[in-house]
Every structure is written in C-alpha cells, then in structure tokens.
C-alpha cells in the first residue's frame, strides 16, 4: 500500500473517530459557557447510543434513530439541569450521578438489543467534485458519514452564535456573571436549562453516531470512556467551538495514529499519548491567570441565587 493511500486513510479515519467527540464537545462547551459543568456526558452519550440503535432497528430508518437519540438524551440531561440550576445542588455530584444512571439504565434496558446486527445503517456519502481533489478529496470528501459534515457545520454555526449574536452574549454573560446578567433582564435559569439541553441533545447524537454509523450495534458500555475525553477536550478547546473542532480531530488523529505507528514507537507510549497531552493541557490551563485570559467561564460550577453574591 502506497504512502498516499496510508495518509488518506489516516485522515479519513481521524474524521470518522473525531466526529462523536466533536459533537459531544460542542454541547459541553455550551453547557459550561452558561456556567454548568456537566460530568454526565458519558451517561448522555450511552443513552443516545441505545436510543439511536433501538429506534433505528425498530423503524428501519437510521435518521429516526439519530433524532430520537437527540430528543431522549436532551430530556435525560434535564435531570442535571433540574438538580444544578433549580435545586442548586453540587454540579460535580449531579453530573456523575447522570453518568452512572445512564450507564446502568442503558445496560438493563438494552439487554434485548445485545448481539443484534442493524440492517439499515447511515449511508456513507461522497461529495461530488470535491472528492476529485488529489489526496484531500478521498481523505475528506469520500465515503464519510453525513454526520461528519454536520459536525463541522455545527462547530462553525455554534461559534457564530456564541460570539457574534445576542444569544451568545446572553449565554456568556450568564456563565461569567449571572448576577449582572440577571440585572440586565436575562433569565439565568432559562439560559442554563437550554444550554444543558443543547449539551444533552448533542451528546445523544454523538452516541447515536456510534451505534448506527460508526459501529452499527448495541453493546453495554460501548462508549467506553469517550464522554470523559469530551470533558477534557472542552477545556482543551478553551470553551471555543472552533478550537473544539480542532481539538477533537487532534485527539482523534493521535488515537488513530496510536495503532498505525506501533511498529516504530512503543505501543504503551502511543496509547498514553492523548491522555498525557490532556493532563499537560489541564495543568497549563488550570493556572488561574491563564484561565481568565483563555476564557474559562467565571461562574462555572457556581449555582446562582438572586440576591446572594
């Protein structure tokens, strides 16, 4: 196999593996931008994966599965929104609870779907003309899932909304200084609820991507820790959707290469590389001054009550 086709397949696989990371990271960026840390990503993803698979196999239409996964995980995330916004509970605890609940529930409910192949999976598409570009064409525009391009489109759209529109200003204001936002007439609770739900919907779609497109089947625990990588990626991306896209693909690229470079570099080191990088970034970012400059929402993890500040 030639060098060229090796590069093509590496890039193409990076996009395929990076897409669920990207989708869920975009959602978590919105939740955290509004001041709500949601450690329930893993749980929301696995609920989405099961919903997506179940609906796709019942209806025979994988897109129904994707949509249903978004809806169900969006509703599922309301548990966290209710606990952390309305009840002002500890966000770390309630997020972890969401993950455990999601993993447990999906394992029990999904039992009858174990070991069943999915007859109708998401079709792979190629983009006419663009796929003809040498190397880049087959690497990026050939035989990919539509969700790959939806992910890229969403990253740009969500960046635009967050930084160029009034809605974005409201979200960031709520995450930075909810008291001031409140005094300006922004409904803090409503913004936070909606942002947590955006996180749930996107995590659900990311999960469905895994179970109806990436690897069409349902297996208990199939997200295998992806949700935790999403949490790290959110910080890695400095809460910016465009950086989130590059972060997700960067991580996915390292993951894909960790198998392709095994003959030359120690497999143990390659396996640890993405996690080592994540830790390094977390250490760098957690230095307070940098955190301010890089855009960590000041009110992240802090519940808001009118009149207490």
């Amino acid at each position: 196999m030639s060098w060229e086709s090796w590069v093509i397949s590496t890039i193409s696989r990076t996009l395929a593996y990076g897409t669920p990371l990207l989708l869920a990271t975009l959602g978590e960026i919105y939740a955290e931008r509004s001041g709500v840390l949601n450690l329930g990503v893993e749980g929301m993803m696995i609920v989405g994966a099961l919903t997506g698979f179940a609906v796709a196999s019942q209806t025979g239409n994988p897109w129904f599965g994707v949509l249903a996964a978004g809806v169900v995980s969006g509703l599922f995330s309301l548990i966290h929104a209710f606990a952390s916004v309305t009840l002002r509970a500890n966000q770390v605890v309630s997020g972890l609870a969401l993950t455990m609940l999601g993993l447990g529930l999906s394992g029990v409910i999904g039992r009858s779907y174990e070991g069943r192949p999915l007859m109708h999976t998401l079709d792979k598409i190629s983009i006419p003309l663009l796929e003809k570009i040498p190397v880049l064409g087959p690497a990026i525009f050939q035989d990919q899932n539509l969700l790959v391009y939806i992910g890229i489109g969403l990253a740009i759209l969500l960046w635009f909304v967050l930084f160029k529109t009034r809605i974005g200003i409201s979200i960031r204001a709520v995450g930075e200084d909810p008291a001031t936002a409140d005094s300006l007439g922004i409904n803090v609770a409503r913004v936070r609820y909606l942002c947590v739900m955006v996180g749930g919907v996107l995590a659900g779609i990311a999960g469905a991507y895994l179970s109806v497109a990436y690897r069409p089947s349902w297996t208990d625990g199939m997200t295998a820790g992806m949700g935790w990588i999403v949490i790290a990626l959110t910080i890695f991306a400095f809460w910016n959707p465009i950086s989130g896209m590059f972060g997700a693909y960067f991580f996915a690229g390292l993951f894909v290469l960790s198998f392709r470079l095994q003959a030359w570099l120690s497999p143990e080191l390659l396996k640890a590389m993405p996690y080592i990088l994540a830790i390094v970034v977390l250490i760098v970012v957690s230095r307070g001054t940098l955190q301010k400059r890089m855009g960590a929402p000041s009110a992240l993890t802090l519940p808001y009550t009118r009149g207490e500040d």
């Binding site: 696989r13 174990e114 895994l210 990436y214 690897r215 089947s217 198998f259 095994q262």
Partner: protein, 390 residues
C-alpha cells in the same frame, strides 16, 4: 426489653442460617453453585460464553445456580461472600484472571466451600483452576486465513501483549504459514479486553497496511463488522454469536464449551471424588480433544459453507502430506487435535522465533508451563511485540 430480645433472636437466626450455609457439601445432595462474571452476560464474548457454561450446570438435576455479572476485578470479595452467605453456595466459580487473589482469600476463609477459578494459577485444597485454551483453534483459523488472503497479509487485533494472547497469535501465525509460507501476520495491540473504538481503528490501521483477513481478541463484534464493511473475511471470537453480524464474511472462529469442564468437575464433586480437601493439584487445561474448544462459524459449521469451495481449490505443498488442499489439511488437523491420543501440536520443534532464536528444539513439544509463559514471536509475525525476548 422486647426490642432487645427481638434483635437478639434475629442475630441468633442469622448465625444459625449462616452456619447452615457454611456446612461442607454432602456428596449426592442438592448442590448450589455461584458464578462471578467480569462482564455483562450479554457481551457476546467472554462472559456470554461462561454463562452458556452455567446453563449447562443448571440443566443438571441436582444443581442450582446463581450468578453475579459485571463485577469489577478487585471487588469480587464481597460478591463471593454474598453468594455464600445469602444463597448458601456450596461451590463458587470465578471466571476472570483478576479474580484470582480475591478467590484465594475467600477459599482460605471458607475452607468448607469449594472454589473454581478460570485462567489463573493459584490453587488451594478447596480451590481448583480451569482453562479452555484456544491455541489449536487459532492454528486451524490460521490455515484458512493463509489460504484465503490475496494480499499475503493477515491481520490480528490483540487485547494485551500477555502470554495467553501471544500463544494464540503464534499458533495463528503457524497455521497461516502452514497454508501460505509467503504470508505475514500483522498485529496491533489495543490494551483492552473491551474497547470497540480501539478495535475499529486497529482494524482500519491493519487494512491500511494491506491486510485482508482478521482474527482478534476483543469482546465485541467490532473487528468482524469493520472487516465485512470492507468486504474482508474474519474469524469470530468466543463462539458463533459474532457470525450474525457478518454471515457472508465470518469464515470460522473460536468457540468454547465451558460447560464441558464445569459439568465434569461438579459431577466429581457430586460423587464425592473431589472435596474441599483435595483440589490443590486439580488444574483443568482442556483443549479440543476434551471437547472444550472447537472451530465454528455458525452453529454446526466449523467452516462457513460459502468458503468451502475456495479452500478445496487452494493447494498446499505440505511437508507431511505432500500436495493437499487447504480444506483437507484443516480437516486432518482438526481430527488430530480432536484425538485424545494427541498426534499433532503446532508447538512441536524445531521452531525459531523471529529474531532467529531456537525456542523449541527439534523433536521437542512445548510443555503446558512453556505455553502459559510464552513471550516470543513466530517468524512471520510483523509489528510491535512488547516484552519480546532479545
């Protein structure tokens, strides 16, 4: 006063019941067997296969079974206690390597209870070990892979670079070589028993290197699915349930019958031959001859019928049999492995590793001890091999 008495009575009752539960098993009476699984029984891999074994025990007229699934390694202690105290288990079977120390601790605490542990090496007077090993089956799968590969590159997705997986890989590589001396076996490690994402990308990496036939050690059908997506063949792991994911592309696979070992062992306990005092040297190492493992595509088919013609048409120049088809070689080797007299083993000398060291001298067969500590890589293996001897 009344309250205190009630409490005391309850406590006394618990002690009496617990005492009854801890009494040694009386041969010929009803037996209660508890199982501890590392994964969900619906994983369609390792724990699924073990649960099939439990069902064979449940079918015995004198046996009742209980099981606990998805037990984290290291947390088996309380689970075992519960099986003994609450369910009164006479025999406890634990099935993951990581349960070894916890099982031994429990065995030393409950000298009246009989224990069995799969895949480990620590035993006690009341604790035996058992294993159904796949290496012969991998050798048979390798014959098929070597015959059917068109690129002369065969892939293997390995869980961890430990002796068990290395033994299976080497046996597979030897089967490949027997059918096709020009073929290489490319290996990728994913460092997990269960990680669909890693299994998928490892398969894609092997495809990028030109591989077109896949065997693996991972407890999901991911490799089978990825191979089929690319129109390539694969070998199911832990039984025919993976066949349903790609019936046109799963050519054969490794199937296990844990029930054969469990029923044999428990029968002997039932008859009083094995007790909580004489298990220190009982180690079941069962292979094809005992019916514990066998090649299987779909139930009843060692080879997927779609590929039989191609295997019959592929001719091999074999040192022992001369001109012979891959199909016939597969069938002869399968019969030899199944023969209790043992007339053939892949690990019979002379064998050199890929660094040129003689690992099995001419005329020698590897002992079970050498098999379970294997670190070297066979000559046609390509790729990283952590822990490889110089």
């Amino acid at each position: 006063m009344n309250k205190r008495f009630a409490l005391f009575a309850a406590l006394a009752l618990v002690v009496v019941l617990a005492g009854a539960a801890f009494a040694a098993y009386e041969p010929g009476t009803k037996m209660t067997v508890g199982f501890v699984y590392v994964g969900p029984i619906g994983d369609y891999g390792y724990s699924y296969a073990h649960n099939e074994g439990r069902l064979a025990v449940e079918a015995l007229p004198w046996a009742d079974t209980f099981y606990v699934e998805s037990v984290t390694e290291g947390q088996e202690g309380p689970v075992i206690e519960d099986l003994i105290a609450t369910h009164g288990c006479d025999v406890v079977i634990t099935t993951s390597f990581g349960f070894m120390d916890g099982t031994l601790d429990a065995a030393l605490n409950h000298t009246d209870v009989i224990f069995g542990h799969a895949s480990g090496y620590k035993r006690a007077p009341n604790m035996m070990t058992f294993m159904a090993d796949f290496y012969q089956v991998y050798y048979l799968n390798g014959i098929i892979a070597g015959a059917l590969t068109e690129t002369n590159k065969v892939g293997y997705v390995g869980a961890f670079p430990i002796p068990e997986v290395k033994r299976h890989l080497n046996a597979y590589a030897m089967g490949v070589k027997a059918a096709n001396p020009d073929a290489e076996v490319h290996v990728k490690w994913i460092y997990s028993w269960f990680d669909p994402g890693a299994a998928a990308e490892a398969t894609e990496a092997l495809i990028a290197e030109g591989c077109d036939a896949f065997a693996f050690t991972e407890d999901s059908p991911t490799v089978v699915q990825k191979a089929a997506e690319n129109g390539m063949i694969s070998f199911g792991h832990y039984g025919s349930q993976m066949y349903t994911f790609a019936p046109d592309y799963v050519v054969s696979g490794q199937a296990v019958n844990w029930g054969s070992i469990l029923v044999d062992f428990l029968q002997k306990v039932y008859e009083g031959e094995y007790t909580a005092e004489n298990l220190a040297n009982i180690d079941y190492w069962w292979l094809m001859a005992q019916g514990a493992v066998y090649p299987e595509a779909a139930p009843g088919d060692p080879i997927n019928p779609l590929y039989v013609d191609a295997l019959k048409a592929y001719m091999i120049d074999d040192p022992a049999f001369g001109e012979i088809s891959a199909y016939d070689l597969f069938m002869i080797r399968m019969a030899q492995f199944g023969d209790p007299g043992v007339t053939f083993d892949p690990f019979q000398g002379p064998i050199s590793d890929r660094n040129g060291n003689v690992v099995v001298p001419a005329g020698m067969w590897l002992s079970a001890d050498s098999l379970i500590t294997m670190e070297w890589a066979f000559e046609n293996v390509v790729g990283a091999w952590p822990g490889e001897p110089e």
